[in-house]
Symmetry: D2
Subunit: 180 residues, 4 copies
């Protein structure tokens, strides 16, 4: 058996455990008349950025916490926060503050008992191995399996949103950055 | 004489040569009903980002080329492009493309004869030394004097915009990112 | 059948077509005594960054083209360039320049006939759908399927590198950013 | 009197209050055999990045907290932390943690009595107006005057370092990113 097979076996195992109705709960919170903010550290942060970029292609007003033009977050906005362990300080603390200000929270984590999961108005559990040791065991380093599974999970959420919002591939293409 | 004095002497010399009516020309192009995009490489890119952040505080819809959520640029948008030499490929080429698409260009450069300056609907010449050797001579490395002077020049443009648009310090503060 | 199943079916189909010996070719170029640079635009760029971060955890000296502290690339360095279509200007042009300067190129693309693939000293073909229409067809938007498959493919490369270099999970954890 | 004059009057006033021996203290901590990390939020963060980029040009091993390839910080490293108010949570908290781990701290702030200043092994006070209301009063928005003055102050530190380390303009140019 090859390493490609070994790794795909892990990814399939995690994705079998992701609950599609949790993705649907998040879908319900993400609406065109709300501003969407995303937050994550390290590789989780890169997954959050990939999600934000696709939301922009679909037509959402979306911001990445920590990027240049991100304004203040306010009641009525939605914050999608990603942390494998659900305990990363630079993710949990801003999420707590946003929650207190009336922001709706979508928590994406491996750990259903974590502080981040407790803050979620919608919670998506992606039980891939993290560097804290949660979730399905993995031969891969640190939180690699979590990152891979979160990537696919958030893309499935985008697919659901694009269908609900009747956004075609051509429409998304016309919004895609044209100065690369 | 101290190094602080030496450097401030250089900055003052460059800023004496910046023409306030060129800043006013740029101000005329930047309007609340237009989307503003900024573009720059290296340290010029950081100055462009600082300008974008302040435009956001004032209330503009602004995007940084290369960041996550930046959509396609279109006719009717404004592109503020910064390059000391006015010849940086990763700045000039996208600016040419945008110009052809009907985007209004604000060119910020040390070199009035450069390709970038030629593309500008408004041009702000900031004649600080660049790593290409343009402008006021400097004891500082590479394009340091250009970066410092561009920083201040774009902040003066922000000050003019905030006054024109009646945006107070308190209003800007309420838009400032609140998750730091 | 659920959307999770539909999407995983696509990812498995692409990963079945990725050739493990192409990953091994790339592994041969990536060595501890070489500096590794990564390059990509948009979501491909985020995948390149995720790869760079993991290389750092394993112990490599690695830089992301476009980030703050990235120095000049020189003969003897390795450039890992990612583009679904293999035609993205902001990826192909710097790769051509680097190649001429004696840099070794790892090209990661969906399109084996593309300009980027032609430049590769090692080439990894990841035949997921891209926004240019290459590769395995997909129900997902734009180059989503390519992004997902590239993510997993580059992680498999990291797994091979960490085993070759005898880097354990604990060793990688000690290098992981500790100020989040 | 023009706005350019008004703003330059403010910048000169602040720079007259910056103490060159405080810059010299920071210079003493920054050595070629130490890794240098920089940290800042918002526009202060952009100034920190500009400083990091120039340190790289001079020849230092330098990292920006929050960027892709930044490793764990350890005893013996130096952290340059920038915050106008000296109270920004996302700057002060990591600085405290780093200090406890044996990292040397260079604190750059407007406020000599702030938590950040208390943490500094070297402290550079740049008394420009901040959005918290510290320092020399300004007609400019938020912490603009602080940003401008920090920019110039850190560039003066770079000038001192390049002279001490015998790095010429040509040497810095050869390290400058060559894929723009």
């Amino acid at each position: 058996m090859t390493l490609i097979n070994d790794v795909m076996h892990e990814v399939n195992e995690v994705m079998d455990l992701v609950k599609e109705d949790q993705i649907d709960d998040a879908e319900g919170l993400i609406q065109m008349d709300r501003r969407i903010f995303v937050l994550g550290a390290g590789r989780s942060g890169l997954m959050a950025k990939g999600f934000a970029m696709r939301l922009m292609h679909i037509g959402y007003t979306v911001f990445v916490i920590g990027e240049t033009i991100t304004p203040a977050i306010k009641a009525g906005d939605v914050l999608v926060a990603v942390s494998g362990s659900g305990k990363t300080g630079s993710v949990v603390e801003p999420t707590e503050k946003a929650k207190q200000d009336g922001v709706k929270i979508v928590a994406v984590t491996s750990n259903a008992d974590s502080p981040l999961a407790q803050l979620g108005d919608a919670v998506i559990i992606v039980p891939g191995a993290t560097k804290a040791g949660d979730g399905v065991q993995s031969i891969q380093l640190l939180s690699t399996l979590f990152d891979q599974s979160v990537h696919i999970t958030l893309d499935i959420l985008c697919l659901k949103l694009s269908r609900r919002d009747h956004v075609s591939n051509g429409m998304a293409k016309s919004t895609h950055s044209n100065l690369e």
